[in-house]
């Protein structure tokens, strides 16, 4: 799928993005691209900066956080330099966001159908009546049963999986080029999660929508994404195709994460845990961010590693990357 992007300008292009809280750098020099029709995963544990990166694209950063460097292009729109009204025009229309907690994202006081149809009324100036008709089709497209009856329901009458589908339907309303999904299946049961993920895949296949998928779940990434960025403590430490990342992880952190993940499909006699803890804000030292926990760390790791290319589009930020076929 990665070949779909070659030669074409990316839909989303983030360059040298740096985000700081007062005195603390939380996202450091992140470069990230999402091509047309591509599903790209941004994976990381808590505090990695993955969600802040996504919020920066949407201009939804918390008040104390500021982008101090870098640029974010959505097609030709400079996302960091838009006026409020320009941004309102883009959000929903060209760019949609599926948040983690759909219960909190949906308005409890409005029927679901109105919320799914609202982007059409605002951006396309159609009548509420027509918007509700389209909402029925959108809800049907996300495999909600009996959408004609359900559009009058309020969010609390929906299960968690149905609410998440309603959010996806809302995101689809204006057929955006890019959907940013922040842990869209956290809190859902695995069988429902599988349905939601399948649905996102279908949307990409049918409409060619690009998806930036933010998650901490390695399994989800390997099941349905094309390319992966692995973040740790504010930095992208490794990026590559799903095959690169899962079949030959070169950064010690990526390999360690894989070795630390329990499996239901295979007997694992011993999980290899990563010593120490994820650094909290302000604890991040100069040099390689993973060095304090890294089994391969050497004196040189006190200096920040430069990014090196293992193979085309497979890049690693490590002085001592692993070999291509080492087992974790």
């Amino acid at each position: 799928m990665a070949s779909m992007t070659s030669g074409l300008a990316p839909v989303l292009d983030i360059q040298n993005l740096t985000i700081e809280f007062p005195g603390q750098r939380v996202v450091d020099d992140v470069n990230l691209e999402v091509g047309a029709g591509e599903i790209v995963a941004l994976i990381g544990e808590s505090g990695s900066g993955k969600t802040l990166t996504a919020l920066a694209i949407l201009n939804l950063l918390p008040r104390q956080a500021h982008v101090t460097e870098g640029r974010i292009m959505l097609n030709h729109w400079p996302m960091l330099h838009l006026t409020a009204s320009q941004r309102r025009e883009l959000l929903g229309d060209r760019l949609a966001f599926i948040p983690q907690d759909s219960m909190r994202a949906l308005n409890p006081m409005l029927p679901v159908g109105d919320q799914v149809g609202e982007p059409l009324v605002i951006h396309r100036s159609i009548s509420w009546e027509a918007a509700r008709r389209i909402a029925v089709n959108l809800l049907r497209a996300v495999h909600l049963k009996e959408p004609e009856k359900r559009i009058a329901d309020y969010p609390h009458q929906f299960s968690g999986g149905m609410q998440q589908r309603a959010m996806i339907a809302m995101a689809l309303a204006l057929e955006p080029e890019l959907i940013i999904a922040d842990e869209p299946t956290t809190g859902l049961d695995v069988t429902v999660q599988a349905q939601v993920i399948r649905l996102l895949g279908e949307i990409r296949d049918r409409k060619g929508t690009s998806i930036l998928f933010i998650t901490h779940d390695l399994g989800l990434v390997s099941d349905f994404c094309d390319r992966v960025y692995v973040m740790y403590a504010g930095k992208v430490v490794e990026q590559g195709s799903v095959g690169d990342i899962f079949d030959s992880p070169r950064h010690p952190y990526t390999a360690a994460l894989l070795a630390a993940t329990p499996s239901a499909l295979e007997r694992v006699s011993e999980l290899v845990s990563i010593a120490g803890q994820i650094p909290t804000r302000g604890e991040i030292e100069a040099g390689c961010v993973f060095a304090p926990r890294c089994p391969r760390a050497q004196p040189l790791c006190a200096e920040a590693p430069v990014e090196s290319e293992m193979s085309p589009r497979h890049r690693v930020r490590c002085w001592y990357p692993r070999g291509p076929i080492e087992t974790p």
Partner: protein, 270 residues
């Protein structure tokens, strides 16, 4: 030897006062047993009744019918000193250590509390026991002075494990103890749990929605759906050759990085 036994247990949360009809059975006619030294995993999706079952085994909620039997005694027929003695032997670890540890108590006091309640040893020895237990779960003595909010999620869960084992229990019942943790920290806690279980010869029941975690830790596994056990057996049998269609559906749906690797080994795929 059966240490802990669940016999024909059902649970109905009464909704009569609201709708004039009794609520549905959350757990229906479940029977299982855990042999001494064994670990049983209970898996299922939300609403399957797995946590309710665990809470009944902890004697936190009363079964509507059936009995929970520990060392041959029905937990609900016990009272007074007998019950106190059993409470010492059955300890719990909960999902979210941020809410199961008192934010206004220092870690040392949290760990001392059960020793005080059960009047174990003179107070000087109690303090030594607290330090020894902190070391056993991979923390250091100076954690005794800290408050829960000064600890990371993984460290808090270590404290929860310390609180469960400080009484020298024979059974530890855990409800999703690692689901609030990041993967790299989860593996530390799972390995710690395994090590402690082995060293202390603990019997345990481990409720989780994460099938990988259960396969890693448990000798046997029960799969619950809508209040019933649909499949139960040794972990390796259930995971390698699931018999019930629901178990198969769960395994098919679970996201797993190893699926790529496994499917690439099948000729004609990948």
């Amino acid at each position: 030897m059966k240490l802990l036994e669940v016999k024909n247990v059902s649970k109905r949360f009464d909704a009569r006062s609201w709708f004039g009809r009794p609520g549905d059975l959350v757990v229906r006619d479940v029977s299982l047993s855990v042999a001494a030294g064994q670990t049983l995993g209970i898996v299922g999706e939300s609403g399957s009744g797995k946590s309710t079952l665990l809470r009944m085994m902890l004697r936190l909620i009363r079964p509507t019918s059936g009995s929970i039997i520990f060392r041959g005694q029905d937990l609900w027929t016990l009272g007074g000193a007998e019950l106190l003695a059993v409470r010492r032997e059955i300890q719990a670890i909960f999902q979210d250590p941020a809410s199961s540890l008192n934010p206004r108590q220092r870690i040392g006091d949290i760990l001392l509390a059960p020793l005080d309640v059960h009047r174990i040893g003179p107070s000087k020895e109690r303090r030594d026991e607290v330090v020894a237990t902190l070391l056993r779960v991979g923390l250091t003595a100076d954690y005794a002075r800290r408050y829960p909010h000064q600890l990371s999620g993984g460290q808090r869960q270590r404290v929860a494990i310390a609180r469960a084992i400080i009484m020298g229990p024979s059974v530890v019942l855990a409800d999703e103890p690692t689901s609030a943790l990041d993967v790299s920290v989860q593996a530390q806690i799972l390995n710690l749990f395994r090590e402690i279980k082995r060293n202390l010869g603990l019997t345990s029941v481990f409720v989780s929605h994460n099938l990988g975690v259960v396969r890693y830790l448990c000798d046997s596994v029960a799969v619950m759906r809508q209040g019933e056990i649909v499949e139960i057996g040794p972990s390796e049998t259930v995971f390698a050759a699931p018999q019930h269609p629901y178990t198969r559906a769960l395994l098919d749906a679970v996201p797993d990085p190893r699926r790529r690797l496994l499917s690439s080994l099948v000729p004609g795929e990948g």
